[in-house]
C-alpha cells in the first residue's frame, strides 16, 4: 500500500472535518473492499478517515413497520439479528451469503451501499425493498440513490449513517454466486409491501442495480412465479465478462426471479 494518513474519527463532525482537510480522502468502514483495493494500488488516497470509532453508527432497531440498520453494522450481525430474521428473513439470508465468514465479520452495510459495486448484494435489498439511505445531512430514497457503476447520489464527503427498510409482506432473494468470489453473477430481490411490488436485479446490469417494471406490473396483478413466465429482460444493457455473457445473465434473471417469488411465498 502507498502511505496514507489515517484519521480515527470519534464523531461524524470529526470525520467530515478530516475528510474535507484531506487532499484526497476516503472513508474507511469495514475495509473489505477498500483495503484490497489499496493493496493492489488501484487507489492511493492521501488520507483515510476510519469510521470504526464513531459512536452510534452500528446497531439494529426494529418495529413492526421498519428496520433501521446502522451503517457500520457488520454483515454477520445483520445475518444473526433476531428481529431481522423474524421480520425480514430475506435480508438476513442475503447478509449471511455475502463473501465468506471472515468478510462478514468485518464488512459493513454502509460501506457496501456507499461503494455500490454492481455485483454486490445489498444494493438489491435497498432498491428491492424501497429502502432509504440516511446520511449525515439528508434522507435519500433508494430510487434516487443508485446512479450507475460505483456511482451514487452521495456528495463528496457525505457519510451514510443508516439504512432503513420498510417491513414487507413478502420478500425473497436468490443469487447465483460467482463460485470463487461469491459476488453475484445475478441476484434478484422480489418484494411485496405497502409500496407495491418491487423487483431489483444486481450483478447483471451495465449500470449497476436496476428494477424490472414489466415483472413488477405482472406481479402486482398476481404475485406468483407463473405470472412472470415469458417476461424477458433485454440482454443489451447487461454485462458480459469471462464468467457469463449478457444472454446468460438475462436468462438467469427470469429463473432467479421465479425462485425468489417462490421463496417469498414460502
Amino acid at each position: 500500500m502507498t502511505p496514507f494518513k489515517l484519521h480515527r474519527a470519534k464523531s461524524l463532525s470529526e470525520a467530515t472535518k478530516a475528510f474535507k482537510a484531506a487532499e484526497e480522502g476516503r472513508f474507511l468502514a469495514g475495509g473489505q473492499t477498500l483495503i484490497p483495493v489499496l493493496k493492489q494500488r488501484l487507489a492511493a488516497p492521501s488520507d483515510l478517515v476510519s469510521l470504526g470509532g464513531v459512536a452510534g453508527l452500528a446497531g439494529i432497531t426494529a418495529s413492526a413497520e421498519k428496520i433501521t440498520i446502522g451503517a457500520m453494522t457488520r454483515h454477520a450481525d445483520v445475518a444473526a439479528n433476531a428481529d431481522v430474521r423474524r421480520l425480514l428473513p430475506a435480508l438476513a439470508e442475503m447478509a449471511g451469503g455475502i463473501g465468506d465468514p471472515h468478510v462478514r465479520n468485518r464488512g459493513t452495510m454502509g460501506g457496501s451501499v456507499a461503494n455500490n459495486d454492481p455485483a454486490a448484494d445489498y444494493p438489491a435489498a435497498v432498491l428491492g425493498l424501497g429502502g432509504t439511505v440516511v446520511t449525515d445531512s439528508r434522507r435519500i430514497s433508494a430510487d434516487d440513490y443508485f446512479q450507475g457503476l460505483f456511482t451514487t447520489a452521495l456528495e463528496d464527503g457525505e457519510i451514510i449513517t443508516a439504512l432503513e427498510f420498510p417491513v414487507p409482506e413478502r420478500a425473497g432473494y436468490v443469487k447465483m454466486p460467482h463460485p470463487a468470489s461469491r459476488y453475484c453473477l445475478v441476484g434478484v430481490m422480489v418484494t411485496k409491501g405497502a409500496a407495491g411490488v418491487r423487483v431489483a436485479v444486481t450483478g447483471a446490469g451495465q449500470g449497476g442495480v436496476f428494477r424490472v417494471p414489466a415483472m413488477e406490473a405482472a406481479l402486482a396483478k398476481s404475485f406468483t412465479a407463473a405470472a412472470i413466465v415469458g417476461i424477458k429482460v433485454a440482454a443489451d444493457d447487461l454485462m458480459t465478462d469471462i464468467h457469463a455473457g449478457a444472454e446468460y445473465r438475462a436468462h438467469l434473471i427470469g429463473v432467479l426471479a421465479r425462485r425468489a417469488i417462490a421463496k417469498a411465498l414460502a
Binding site: M1, S50, P101, H102
Partner: protein
Amino acid sequence: MPVITVTVNRATHKIDVPDNMLLSSLLRDELRLTGTHIGCDTSQCGACTVHVDGRSVKSCTMLAVEADGLAVTTIEGLAEGEKLHPMQTAFRDHHGLQCGFCTPGMIMAAVALAEQNPAPTDAEVREGLEGNLCRCTGYQNIVEAIMSGARAMHGARS
C-alpha cells in the same frame, strides 16, 4: 505513528505502528508470530485468518491500528503449552493438510466455526471454509478434521 494497545494471545503490547500497516504485518514482522501466513495479495486465500475479539477475520484485510484496544488470537495462541488445541489435534489425526501452508488459517476458521456451531454438518463446514483456500488436499480431510475437532472441542468423543 499511532501508539496502539493490542492484546495478542493474552499478552498486551503497547506499540507504535505506521498508519498503513496491516494487522498481518504487525503480527508477523513486529511480533514475530509467523504462524499467520500470507498466501495471496488479494484477500482471497484466508491463510492469514486470526480471531479479533473472538471473531474470525483476515488479518491482511484489517489495518493494525484498527486492532487498538482489541484482543487478537493467532494460531500460536491456541495450544496450552505442549497441549494442542482439540482442533489442532483433529487436523493431525485426520491428516487435514499436505503442505501445511493454509493450515493456520484453516484451523483459526475452524475454531471460530465450531464455537458457533458445535456439530457442523459436512455442508456447513464447506460453507464455513468459503474464505479459506487449500491448493493441495481437495478439502476432504480438512472437512473431516473440522467435524471431529468440533466434537472434541465440545467434549464429545471424536
